[in-house]
Subunit: 652 residues, 2 copies
């Protein structure tokens, strides 16, 4: 609300600027982009009456002082648009300014008068006066240049000459840039953007327990070619820290461990160290750094899992007892969700009076691993720690290291998931894991990719995790695994799987009705036959190669769903802005029966001919189809090929 | 964007408050309500984890210093809701605060533990500690009361007693109200509301040229019973000021007037005065005040038309030449929209260096007529004057006179129309005048009544104005006039007509393709035969009586459209919150042919039986229909009855 007094003080500002995009909660949070993006800024800009408006987009990196300027262009219905490129990592800001362009209005009306055959002699004098009024505020050189125009308009030159001077483009540009200061309307805020590296937008993750590679990091090096051959970008490891022994869980989460049981990596901390230590059985810090280097040689980036919780044996319990909630009986409050109890986990008490030291220590955990060379973190259950803690931590870490990626592993209520993304998480786990039908997938991914949500929430699609073996995967056999993998890798520019159980087809739950894996790697070491003939490795490698070769699949904003006349068939497309790469995916969601239907594509939007043939090249099989018009028949058999990934090719 | 430092400073504030409604542009403008309204406030409120939250709505009149508090209640999906009543005219503010309720969380979990049969002895000590931690911040009396609870929990009373104490409602309420100060999250803004009188939401306007009543205000008094009998609330007069003679327009807007031509009331000002003067032929100021009083006796409020433009003869031209734009040839710039010229009108130059005096003078025009007793103004073409001017003027005038209504006569681009409403206009003309089809009406009125637009834009529906005789009315005969009147009066709680041409069926345009009336009252005096047998007066009187007797029709927010299986039939309902008044309107939009269809009503939403009969009482004809189930047949003949206005009546 503005007071009448403040409105009176701004009486000469006639332009309104509103409805600016992108903005997240009115600028409270940063919209997300990656380096190289062309940022499209939109706004409603208008004034009373019908005068011309001059509108400008101002932008800068946060640490720069000077704004760069670029003109906004009107679209329709008082909507304007401007662009700028973000080439560097870190934070940017942008804002807008606009004013009524008196000279531009005069120039436009002059053209109308000429067209109507009106006498325009007087108009040249009016234009000259507008120029003269402007020169006072200008630098000497600019003022001199303008004065030349002015004098020509007041001279006794012929009308044709004066008209040419009046409509001179350089004059128009100079005048559009030279408003009276008290007429300039500036947007009342600077809107923030955060620019991440490209992998924030496009990445394939592979989660793996290193202890299942037959030893520690040294042995796990041998697994790197396997992961790299499948075409993943990021190899993500569950917590690598010492594991507690008090109340350690046994195989299949049994309440009491046998002596040989290895324990859950998420029961973090023992006498051997906490969140900055490495489990001795995995090796030394040097082994880990060597592993990082080897991974890099294979084109793999290592992501660590940061889970802020402690086993009862974590050094924090003795060194910082005030960070835990002590009960009147002198014991520490273990994790619980009444009536359930988790006695092997002590949650950190963020309500502690010593919270400031706790926050700083937890931030130092990230900084420690960043120092070792890690630049990607999967954060465990961030929704059970204060939201402002994460905002502070991520903002502060990225101020020093703008290339760090934070993946939010929050499977919780929608608004909290979105809040975590707004406050800074680079990528976010999604409900994809439980969205199996055409309608559910369509609604959810339309919300994620076609609404303002996409400005802050970058979905990461996981068909499975060590905690989640969905019923569809338990019962649908190999077709189900193929379907969910292809959906994840093509619906989402960012996705991940937990392997080798995924590619090797593990599908038996711990018990009926459970989403836990039987003999889960969370509680025991598993050895995998990676050469099984039914492994999905070749499919995964092929799809990841398709992703890398087709820029359309490297972002989510172009996603559109298309009818295929059959509820079991889901069809969607992704395309580059220039339409030089158009990918159409059709998936049979039914893992048991062949399904067919007539695919209906919006050819006009793709700039493809409605009345001529074009080619659909199936990148999964290499087959070529000649299609004609928008309706084309597709049939998919789950036991052969449950999906198509077409590249549409223009007729030559 | 918050800095890491500011986030660190707020580290104990765990709750997030966002998505607060109602708000207009983030609180930049006030949401609109009327006296007696129960304001529903919504917000997304949540914290990390699963702790209980205590959330409060704070509200006050703008001039009060103390907030009143009322608790918010959770709905689903982290959405909360609270209410407060606005009983007085003027401005209110509201905001929200919330915190994690540690005691409430403990209490909830205690109940779960009891249900699970867990040992709870330790819990009483934890609860006692929570109480003790709270007492430090409280007043002595409250602290003492809490300490009593605490001591009971620490006593050796039996478990049953301690459990009763733990779950005591008064204790819970006291604890929920007593957070630690550094945990309180307060919404970062105070959101404004403006509360108008009830007529802002519900009014029927009648526009009339007083000079056509056979003289001045004295003669026009005789017309008051006629208008009152039709059931209108507001009688609105075109400008009543002296009319210029320079370049006066003749009948039918002819460029040159004859000597007896009376001129357009919108060519304001002559030697006899300007915007604070009355045309001598209409009478004196005393005559006008007498007219106001007589109108009031008939239950009619008088609205004036404020048009800020001047004839060349307006005293301002001589007294304040700096308020007009002078051209290099020494003439004043008349109104134009190149190549069109309006030489009888001088626009005020809001770009004048003397704009401050101009603003003050124009505000004083409103204050002058308010002083004479006028409380409603129809503002002519507000979109051609600076938007901040209106915001300043309306805000300032309403600060002194919160009962004044401003109706915006802006037929312009959508965003400007909305901006005028946001910045303060009480009611707004709409595109209704040009929306004639079922689809157009449905889309437009869904946008106006079912989106956030309704918080600031109060539609006023006019089937005609002195400037607009729509083609539908030109060609559709009496049925068209009936249809458009019934639509206006039932789709809109606020509506108006320009009479007597409307009720007497004037329908001939000035020329083919024009929306101007032939022999328009804008340029000449007309005498009307009010007793014509085909006058719509009885219909108008009946519909206005129905509006007054049926609260469902006195607001727009409950409007819902319903299928009738025929594109020429439009069906919609309005209902009171309590559903004790449900009105269903069905209109045949085809003025030429009978149309019929099966009306489909959402009986469950109306709490009407799906499997029993109920009565539909046609308030237009008095007929009663017995209906059964959601589908019922309707048939409407334009030459008999083109519409139904049903009241649905529950079976007894």
């Amino acid at each position: 609300m503005k007071t009448p007094e403040s409105l009176f003080a701004q009486g000469r500002k006639r332009v309104i600027i509103e409805g600016v995009t992108p903005q997240v909660d009115g600028g409270r949070f940063a919209a997300k982009r990656v380096t190289g993006d062309r940022v499209e800024v939109g706004a409603d800009i208008y004034a009373d009456g019908h005068d011309e408006i001059s509108a400008w987009l101002l932008y800068r990196r946060e640490e720069e002082r000077r704004w760069r300027e670029t003109p906004m262009q009107p679209l329709v219905n008082d909507r304007w648009q401007g662009f700028f490129e973000v080439r560097e990592l870190g934070r940017y800001r942008f804002t807008l300014m606009a004013w009524v362009d008196a000279f531009g209005t005069w120039r436009r009306d002059l053209q109308k008068r000429v067209a109507a055959g009106q006498d325009i002699a007087l108009q040249f004098l009016i234009g000259a006066q507008l120029i003269e009024d402007t020169t006072a505020d200008l630098k000497r050189s600019e003022a001199a240049q303008l004065r030349t125009y002015m004098e020509q308009l007041r001279s006794d030159a012929v009308e044709e000459t004066k008209l040419r001077v009046s409509l001179d483009d350089e004059l128009a540009a100079m005048m559009a840039r030279s408003p009276h200061k008290d007429r300039i309307v500036q947007l009342d805020r600077e809107l923030p953007l955060v620019v991440d590296r490209e992998r924030a937008r496009f990445s394939a993750w592979y989660e793996m327990f290193p202890r299942s590679c037959g030893g520690g990091f040294t042995e796990a090096q041998a697994r790197l070619p396997y992961v790299a051959e499948m075409g993943f970008d990021i190899l993500y490891l569950p917590p690598i820290h010492p594991i507690g022994h008090t109340h350690r869980k046994g195989k299949n989460n049994r309440p009491v461990a046998e002596s040989e049981d290895v324990g859950s990596p998420w029961a973090i901390g023992s006498e051997e160290g906490g969140h900055k230590a490495i489990h001795p059985e995995l090796g030394t810090l040097d082994d880990f750094r060597e592993f990082l280097l080897k991974a890099k040689e294979h084109g793999l980036e290592i992501a660590l899992d940061i889970a802020f919780q402690c086993s009862p044996d974590h050094p924090y319990v003795k060194e910082h007892p005030q960070w835990f909630r002590w009960r009147p009986d002198g014991t520490v409050q273990y994790a619980e969700n009444p009536p359930k109890k988790y006695e092997d986990i002590f949650p950190l008490d963020f309500d502690t009076a010593d919270w400031q030291a706790l926050w700083e220590e937890l931030k130092s955990v990230f900084l420690y691993w960043i120092e070792q060379g890690v630049r990607a973190f999967r954060v465990d259950n961030p929704h059970t720690k204060p939201l402002r803690f994460w905002e502070w931590l991520i903002t502060d870490v990225k101020r020093l290291h703008p290339d760090v990626l934070f993946l939010s592993e929050a499977f919780t209520r929608p608004k909290i998931m979105y809040q975590l993304a707004k406050l800074g998480f680079t990528q976010s786990y999604t409900y994809f894991t439980w969205r199996n039908t055409r309608q559910d997938l369509t609604e959810y991914f339309t919300e994620l990719t076609q609404t303002e949500v996409r400005n802050f929430f970058r979905p990461s699609l996981w068909p499975n995790t060590p905690d989640i073996l969905h019923e569809y995967l338990q019962t649908g056999g190999r077709p189900a695994l193929m379907v969910r993998f292809i959906l994840a890798a093509t619906l989402g520019a960012n996705y991940g799987i937990y392997g080798p159980p995924y590619e090797l087809g593990e599908h038996v739950p711990r018990e009926s009705g459970s989403e836990e894996y039987l003999d889960s790697e969370k509680y025991q070491t598993r050895y995998w036959d990676l050469d099984r003939p039914d492994s999905l490795k070749p499919l995964i490698a092929r799809v990841n190669r398709i992703r890398r070769q087709n820029p359309a699949l490297q972002g989510d904003w172009s996603l559109r769903f298309h009818p295929a006349g059959n509820d079991q068939l889901i069809a969607y497309s992704k395309a580059t802005d220039s339409l030089d790469n158009i990918i159409v995916v059709v998936v049979n969601l039914d893992p048991y029966h062949p399904q067919s239907g007539w695919l209906n594509l919006p050819l006009e939007e793709f700039h493809l001919p409605m009345q001529a043939s074009f080619r659909a090249h199936d990148l999964l099989t290499g087959a070529h189809y000649t299609w004609f018009g928008p309706y084309n028949y597709v049939a998919l058999n789950p036991y052969g090929q449950p999906a198509h990934i077409f590249s549409l090719e223009r007729p030559t």
